[in-house]
């Protein structure tokens, strides 16, 4: 990540969660949320990568992502 760049738009994350939960989001929770999101993304990509490798593809394919999505979501179900 480029040095001057923001890692993610904090306000956007906050808005997203706020819309989904219909709750207010306290000040710094969005950092944690984004952390969780990073973890989710990592798991998802990892699973998808494994899957696509098994399928003999070089890059992570959309198909494998779709395949890995339900599992990963279930894994991140609190």
């Amino acid at each position: 990540m480029a040095p001057g760049q923001k890692m993610y738009p904090r306000a956007t994350v906050k808005k997203i969660v706020k819309a989904h939960s219909k709750c207010n989001v306290s000040k710094n929770v969005d950092v944690m949320i984004f952390l969780d999101y990073v973890l989710f993304m990592q798991t998802l990509i990892k699973e998808a990568a494994i899957d696509s490798k098994q399928a003999g593809e070089r890059n992570v394919s959309a198909k494998s992502i779709r395949k890995a999505t339900p599992d990963t979501l279930a894994k991140f179900k609190g």
């Binding site: 997203i16 939960s21 950092v31 969780d36 339900p70």
Partner: protein, 486 residues
């Protein structure tokens, strides 16, 4: 059954014995009437239907047995004819000793101890193996003998569904000859239950109308209830199967069929209403240029997963589903894929609306792509991510945030808050198994987040809420130390 009269003394029980007979005939008649009704449909003959019918019968029998209220434990087991006879014998025992002795060799003992046995035994007799041993030795063995001998008979009876109404045995046997299904009419009988108990005579006449009313009522009912009702109707139909002698219930059946036909037609209507609502809400918000129909899509999503996953999404979902071969999670997959497919179509348009009717933006694709690329590199593949893949990832992250918002709000509400707190997030991550004793949220943050964000994360820590938080605090200190070092 002696039990039939609640609260009666032993002497009184003899008279009650007759009452069950009087009450039972209506039941029988109901089945007899049933076959006529149900007769039209032959479906019922299947073993499953029989089993279901049997279950219903037993349930109904349980309902009808008056003795039920009086007894506290193992009521159902008591309801066998044998028990009735036993009760009768007990009642008779004190008065006529000679007969009791003649009936069974062991009875004399009972006769000798009638007063004791009766008092304690009433409840105990029927609880088979368990309770006997507790009581005094002399009493126990005698009773055990009785029951040891008889249980086999009981089992036989129960299998044939004769459990409750010993008196009905012959009649039911007749019924079996015609159709098992006739017995299955339980459903109606359930309705009739109270009537039967109250009026023995009027049952026949009153019996048919209620089901008819029931059906008509269902027909009249609102459309939203449709789905549940369909199942119910089917169940009833199965129970009803058989050859119908009476045409009386034909009408309700027709009503059912109509309702069946209605179902598919109505679903779109419902959606329309939702759409209208959604549009109304959107107009109220009146914010974004985002096409109305985009919004609708989202609203549908909210409702679909619960009720009608199949209807709308079939077309679009098919493609995706075919791609996904995993059979294990077909249900979830299909649902998700359906959602995905719907979203894919309209996703690229600006804002969407959450379940609560609040607009929200999606994460900028650039951010997601950067993150995904990083993850892909760490995962060992090349960092390239095609637009397709990015699309899928965006979907996944949308769902992720939706799920996360749900969970967080649930936690916050549970804690009586209206604000999502850090503790909620800590809880969530712990439940996700992302953090545990050895991994603190802060450690994760340190690994995955840039330092500025870490700073932010560190700020709120002073508020100690839970155990993990303390750890994070400790971690915090360590982190600072590390930073100092670095």
């Amino acid at each position: 059954m002696a039990n039939t009269n609640p609260g009666t003394s032993r002497t009184g029980r003899l008279a009650p014995l007759n009452t069950p007979r009087a009450t039972t005939p209506p039941n029988r008649q109901t089945p007899s009437g049933r076959p006529s009704v149900s007769a039209r449909r032959n479906n019922v003959a299947t073993p499953h239907a029989r089993a279901a019918i049997r279950a219903m019968d037993q349930r109904r029998a349980a309902l009808f047995t008056p003795g039920r209220t009086r007894r506290r434990s193992l009521r159902e087991q008591r309801e066998t004819p044998r028990d009735i006879l036993r009760n009768l014998s007990r009642v008779l025992a004190p008065t006529s000793q000679v007969l009791s002795s003649s009936s069974s060799p062991e009875t004399p003992a009972d006769a000798s101890l009638p007063s004791f046995i009766e008092e304690e035994d009433e409840e105990d007799d029927d609880d088979f193996p368990i309770e006997r041993p507790r009581f005094s030795l002399p009493l126990g063995p005698e009773e055990d003998d009785d029951e040891d001998l008889k249980p086999p008979r009981l089992s036989g009876f129960e299998e044939d569904n004769y459990t409750m109404q010993s008196i009905e045995l012959p009649r039911r046997a007749l019924m079996d000859n015609t159709t098992r299904s006739s017995l299955g009419s339980m459903r109606h009988s359930d309705y009739m239950g109270p009537d039967i108990q109250s009026d023995d005579v009027g049952i026949d006449s009153g019996f048919f109308p209620p089901p008819a009313l029931d059906d008509s009522a269902e027909v009249v009912m609102d459309e939203p209830a449709m789905i549940e009702r369909l199942d119910a109707d089917e169940a009833r139909r199965q129970t009803l199967g058989g050859d119908s002698v009476f045409g009386a219930i034909d009408i309700p059946d027709a009503g059912n069929e109509t309702t069946f036909l209605m179902a598919p037609v109505e679903s779109p209507v419902r959606e329309q209403t939702e759409e209208q609502i959604a549009t109304g809400g959107l107009e109220g918000l009146g914010s974004d240029d985002g096409p109305v129909y985009d919004m609708d899509d989202d609203d549908d999503h909210v409702n679909e997963p619960m009720n009608v996953p199949d209807f709308d999404t079939e077309d679009e979902a098919d493609n995706v589903v075919e791609n996904n071969i995993s059979t294990i999670e077909e249900a979830t997959l299909s649902r998700i894929t359906s959602l995905a497919s719907n979203r894919v179509v309209k996703r690229k348009k600006g804002k969407r609306i959450s379940r609560h009717g609040i607009e929200y933006p999606s994460l900028p694709p650039s951010v997601v792509k950067r993150l995904a690329t990083t993850c892909a590199k760490t995962a060992g593949s090349k960092g390239k991510i095609s637009p397709d893949t990015l699309d899928a990832i965006m979907q996944a992250s949308d769902w992720f945030f939706e799920q996360l918002g749900d969970d967080l709000s649930a936690y916050a509400k549970h804690a009586g808050r209206k604000t999502i707190d850090e503790s909620d997030m800590v809880t969530l991550m712990r439940r996700q198994r992302q953090t545990n004793a050895s991994t603190t949220p802060f450690a994760l943050a340190q690994r995955y987040l840039p330092r500025e964000l870490l700073q932010e994360l560190r700020m709120p820590v002073p508020v100690p809420s839970k155990a993990p938080r303390k750890k994070t605090r400790r971690e915090d200190v360590e982190g600072e130390e590390q930073e100092e070092v670095t």
